[in-house]
Assembly symmetry: C2
């Protein structure tokens, strides 16, 4: 089968592409061709079985998108987005990529008329906004408080409507915060959730800007890849008209994360976490949802990480660190 | 103050325009100029105090919209829409008017930079989709099951985001089904809710295609005008980031409507209602929400009709019929 990953050079796209090349399959079908599209060239290498093509461009250009869709991939992963901070800082760019770009993809599919692929779309828990219940269930209102969240939610509505009309067979997945992100610390307000695990494991100091009782909804990079693969291969009939689901994560407090780090890697690692309260980051994080009841996703077969300890161990294996 | 009504020739727009000319005020401010924009010319006449201009055009044309907004009205009522049945039948037209047209209005305002009017947007209970709870509260998920509902919900998300950013000061109101609509029977699936009252009062037979226990969420034409005026003049601070509200209606069953008709106008009128079950209409109506808890709207001062009897009496006064 032919697979197209739009946003194939980002962390989530890279992990997915690597998994598809390594396994050579998506569900029970062999993957023969994979196109990785992004603003920067994707580096994932193909194999004898899986031919990989990396293309660059801008999804807000309809002709570019028409060209991608003309290859009639069996499965399209649409992971491309201007992220939260940038969409808030640049109103035009956020709407151009996250709304117009998404619509270009959906319209390019519709324009072919007789082409009805599976479309997997990454949404975000940013579609929710305060005030929150103790745990956000599947029937809770989506009331985003950022432009990014509004754009992601508009994408969900379009995906539901195009799917209902049979134009394509869509599944939207709202990803938890991915922890532990590999690589260098970044400037994202959520970056410290990975940093307080990743840096100590590498023998480096990490800054913790919030209180120990802050709770957050997280999933490992491997769980995110699993969500995408399941979304691409699942039976969509049980979803009915509501095709976008909050993915099952772990609701863990900072204190629980630190205790898990001590258990898995030792108290000396915990000593590398420096508490430096930051009023700005505390304020941002206070507006985020902390806990969900992802019942529908669990019912249709999406699987959460088993424990935060397992998330740490998986990261250590990926990094070649002793556990 | 200057008022612009986009969709000024439709039933809701006509009623609003008539009220503003008659009272000469919007809240505590005199209305001096009113522009009525629609695809067909609005017939509402101005007065010595209120200068009325009727313009025709298409909101999917950005230059047309820029021209309307250039007059910098203090309050913009955006009531224009391709309705449910037509948006379902004509995918392109629905998205072009309901999504692109709405975005054109919001973007034309943003383009001026230093212009931040009150924008009142009519949304719909079509933003909700089955399965429903017994009463739909303000925190219930908006999961539309028609293209019209999806387009209206996208408009809500845009209105919330543009308002949050201070581009304009928006209020979205989800109107109940308007009963009793004046005029001839129409082909809308909901038309019989008005028909079973309007036709008997005029001495004509009316067809009832659904069972007596069907419940529906209704408001009178006068209540709808009241909602619009309140939305244009209210303090928006208590709305926070969620600026779109389900309007308070009456949840009445067909049996209650008929009993009210008998009470107000006599049993001989009820005899003009012919029960002709229609499987198609029953199916459509079965997918509609029946009951809401419009707590937030009530808290911020929107007022429902007192009773279905009062709705009937108001219609009879409007028609010059004895009560």
């Amino acid at each position: 089968m032919k697979v197209l990953i739009i946003g194939g050079a980002g962390m989530v796209g890279r992990n997915l592409a690597g998994e598809l090349v390594a396994s050579g399959r998506l569900g029970d079908k062999p993957v023969t061709e994979m196109t990785l599209f992004d603003v920067a060239p994707a580096a994932t290498q193909g194999s004898a079985a899986v031919k990989v093509t990396a293309l660059t461009g801008d999804i807000s250009d309809r002709a570019t998108v028409d060209g991608l869709i003309a290859g009639r991939p069996d499965v399209i992963f649409h992971l491309a987005a201007i992220v939260s901070g940038e969409a808030e800082a640049d109103f035009d760019k956020g709407y151009r990529i996250n709304l117009d770009g998404t619509r270009n993809i959906f319209e390019a599919i519709r324009a072919l008329g007789d082409y009805h692929p599976r479309v997997v779309y990454t949404s975000s828990i940013a579609v929710f906004g305060a005030p929150f219940p103790e745990a956000i269930g599947d029937d809770f209102i989506t009331a985003p408080m950022t432009s990014y969240g509004a754009q992601k939610m508009i994408g969900e509505l379009l995906l539901n409507d195009y799917s209902r009309r049979g134009i394509f067979d869509g599944v939207g997945i709202r990803l938890p915060t991915i922890v532990v992100r590999p690589g260098k610390p970044n400037k994202a307000a959520s970056g410290f959730f990975s940093g307080i695990i990743r840096e100590p494991l590498a023998g480096l100091e990490a800054v913790l800007p919030v209180d120990d009782d802050v709770r957050h909804w997280v999933a490992s990079p491997a769980a995110a890849t699993g969500f995408l693969v399941h979304a691409a291969t699942m039976d969509t009939a049980p979803l009915g008209a509501r095709r976008c689901l909050t993915m099952p994560g772990l609701a863990v407090t900072i204190a629980e994360m630190i205790a898990a780090l001590a258990e898995v890697a030792g108290q000396d690692k915990v000593a590398l976490i420096k508490r430096e309260p930051d009023a700005t980051i505390r304020g941002i994080v206070a507006g985020w949802p902390q806990n969900f009841d992802a019942a529908r996703a669990t019912e249709v077969g999406f699987t959460a990480d088993a424990s935060f300890q397992d998330i740490i161990r998986a990261h250590m294996r990926d990094m070649g660190q002793a556990g």
